[in-house]
Point group: C2
Chain length 604, copies 2
Amino acid sequence: MSRPEVFAALRRDLAFLLDEVLDVGALRSTGAFSQFDADDFGTLVDAAIEAAAKLFAPCAEVLDAEEPAMRPDGSVCVPDELATALNAYIEGGYLGAALPEDVGGMGLPYVIAQAMYAAFFAANAPAAAYPMLTAAAANVLRAFGTDAQKATFLRPMVEGRYFGTMVLSEPEAGSSLADLRTRAIPQADGTYHIVGNKMWISGGEHDLSENIVHLVLARIEGAPAGIKGISMFLVPKRRVNPDGTLGPLNGVTLTGLNHKMGYRGTINTALAFGADAPCVGTLVGTEHRGMATMFHMMNEARTGVGLGATMMGYAGYRVSLEYARERVQGRHPDRRGADEPAVPILEHADVRRMLLTQKVYVEGGLGLGLYCAKLIDEHATATDAETKEALDDLLAVLTPIAKAWPSEFGPRANDLAIQVLGGAGYTRDWPLERYYRDNRLNPIHEGTNGIQGLDLLGRKVTAHQGRAFRRLLAAIRASIGRFESVEALQELTTALDGAVGLVAETTMKLGAAAMGGNVRLFLANATEYLHMLGHVVIAWMWLEQAGTAAARMDQASEDDRAFLEGKLHAARFFTRYELPRIERQAALLQRLDDTALTMPAGAF
Amino acid sequence: MSRPEVFAALRRDLAFLLDEVLDVGALRSTGAFSQFDADDFGTLVDAAIEAAAKLFAPCAEVLDAEEPAMRPDGSVCVPDELATALNAYIEGGYLGAALPEDVGGMGLPYVIAQAMYAAFFAANAPAAAYPMLTAAAANVLRAFGTDAQKATFLRPMVEGRYFGTMVLSEPEAGSSLADLRTRAIPQADGTYHIVGNKMWISGGEHDLSENIVHLVLARIEGAPAGIKGISMFLVPKRRVNPDGTLGPLNGVTLTGLNHKMGYRGTINTALAFGADAPCVGTLVGTEHRGMATMFHMMNEARTGVGLGATMMGYAGYRVSLEYARERVQGRHPDRRGADEPAVPILEHADVRRMLLTQKVYVEGGLGLGLYCAKLIDEHATATDAETKEALDDLLAVLTPIAKAWPSEFGPRANDLAIQVLGGAGYTRDWPLERYYRDNRLNPIHEGTNGIQGLDLLGRKVTAHQGRAFRRLLAAIRASIGRFESVEALQELTTALDGAVGLVAETTMKLGAAAMGGNVRLFLANATEYLHMLGHVVIAWMWLEQAGTAAARMDQASEDDRAFLEGKLHAARFFTRYELPRIERQAALLQRLDDTALTMPAGAF
């Protein structure tokens, strides 16, 4: 079922964030997007929202109910509705939204493409995963592919005739890619034979596209052990003839499907490369630099995962809000008499608390996802090295947060959405239990949230003596400076200023421990650090939204005033209910708590 | 699959809690359980654990996969394995474990029966729900049934030939039972005809037993509106002849099944009473006092729900711990070289944090569930009014916590168990995603957690000018007094003492607001209050476990020392990582935060 309340709200939220908070129109002044008129961005986003509601949302339920299955011949079947939805998506040109026009894309800013993705994620994330993975793989080829690879594979991918995958994990190498064993054996013609077993490959096998382009991490024979001996290879499901016609099958065998709790529409496969027949691949980028090449794709994939987690939370919030407006049940505690009329459950304080909590998680997460996307555009269009470095820094430190924070708090929003509906929310009559199951994937894939914490604290925050971290704090403090004279925002700016100080102090103490050489202790609570800094960043996103709302309030229509008042009120809620959580985290990080580290293994 | 690691650990945990922390053997000195020898309790609990592992656990997967379905004739089918498991359970006599011998039960202390349930819940909660509901219904009949009702229905229920249900909710009366509309029309022979539609009835229809005994809430024609006009009726699926043989079907029609995210083995039904044929019921207890009668059942049902939530969390903890011991992946952050050996993931700090968090949630919850059960035994065996009142008070204030706290934190434990396994945990190859889905029911049924918060703060804490609340604090302070001179426990006693003071201060401020007449504001954050007091109660349970462990340490074997050290370490972890969460809650409760209440409805 398409849920109009989700998409009507999304339209308004995206317009507010894109036009008013982020002022994406300003990207046109860089000259990079001058082919677009002032209204084009909004028009295109609105069209994407409509397509998501009409074409993607209706098949979400069947995709969940009819899980992909393996046929005896090793092929797989997926519901027909998936192909229909994906074809409509491809015909709309969305797959290449952010890719340049010279390879068949629309040449839109990345932030606009992400706003479009937001709509498709809210409608049907498991379906959206196929084009999203394809666009990410195409982007890698665009940046690192040889001319021959580009000529043969890039345009069919942008056109949605070939789909793409990322092939990293192996049975004994999941989070630890350094241990991967898949081999690439050099051939006389410059190609490689790929041999090995891979796991957790989304979209690894299907008949939804003419071909599948696997980007595979493997180790060239004789390469060094560890992370520095890994290279990336392009491995098509079907070989492609020089004239672009499809050749014979390459040696890629489907060895199994993973049966997941949720996200079922995205087929998840185990593949064997070169087991039954030779599997030919070509090198992408530089030998032994496969991880760096993959990370080019992974950073965008990570913010994409975070955005997906946000949007499942967003859809759940809106469905539970609509329910709360309509469902009449119970009375106010000071009017409990049997002759008093029952009220919509939206009137109950605890239901409001659950709705506001969802609102601050998902609208805060959406703000962060789009902000990061805009930084990517600014980075791409920046002309001086200093600006590029500053943007690189901000993106480096924000990416693990943009992945992990929404994938922690998006599912919590879904949990609360179920609770608002009570027993009904626990049934398949409503989509909330599906969002809850689907969203549980997000803290796991594209680097578990634990890995993100280690990346943030162990790598991003400490790099260049904390340069990126200081840039983040400076950016937050710049917002505080911009808004602190607005009376309606003083509670927020004061609280955020205190929080930034606490985070700075905590980070310095951690840094001192790292300098002292006790790396294990330094990183022992990296996940708590991630959540702490994440909450501060989201409070910042709320200050930006509240500040914009406060500035617009006077000229707003009555209807708009309610919307803007909601932003102000939600920002206060985040400040009062959520931001104080960082105090507990700061305390345990500052004292370098070692309780988990020192638990004897036999005592669990 | 039966998971021996779960049951071996449970055996040890239950022995520790029952024998050492709670000293349940002392119940024998009351004379009420003098038929049991010193070793009997432990022997019987161990037998239940074995039965749970062998008979209940193996069919959990199929019960989930093969959801109950409605046949065209209105009957339902469930997997055969369910009947097999339930028959074994009944033959073992577990259904009547806590019921007196004169009605066919085993006459065991309630705390021993709950320990047995704990094992069955850990093995297969959806299957355990049938006998648990039956035992609860039997207990109501034992307390409130007429001699005729007892003669006809009680023994067949204890023997497991008839199953029982609780029939409360209606389509327009879920959380708000005051609005229920089902009518009871008095007949000349003293019976009633029941007419109305009911929902969310677990075990409402099946062929697992010869008959089903519904305990139905309905309104006698002419009764007052609201909660004070509700009566309880015994409504059998099949009428029973005076000689105990089964008569014709009563007018109870299955109108639909709820298709749930989890807990699928427990069939959940919508029933129509008196729609197609007359439906005859008999009054249970006093006219218009049906809610009080139902609450006799509901308090035990509520602590039972909490225990179930704990045990799903417990099973997940043990499975994820075993995985963490065996799965080798990654290296320490100070030994990351490719030539360093990979380590079991139990070595990683963040995995340890996730395991310890699970441990403190589930072993703390288990301590609370059994403590409450022991209070019920002490209440039943108490001979003086003063003791009974004190125990009533403690149970009143602890019941909403014993229901809601584990049903909030048990699912969080399951969430962390999935995360420990990563992608594997998200697949159906492991039981963790099933626990996660099953456990999500617990914050909803038997009174949502929001309702529990209102019950705790709005009713239990304020009753008799806070008498029950003060008794709870006195009991916690008595524990602190008992342990504060033990050096190894001083961190815990100091922290708990501070927490108790903070809760007392917070409660006084709330009480003052209530006295001032602002009931809405007083109750606006009742759920936060519930979580705050819940964390303090669980910290107390951990002090009790740590105190016992500290006292036993010197004489313990090496293996036991690791177990006891685990208890001490976990108590420290709870004190350091979890207990400080109450500070945020206390602050917002003390300032009577109204942010949720004052959000304009149009601004969400």
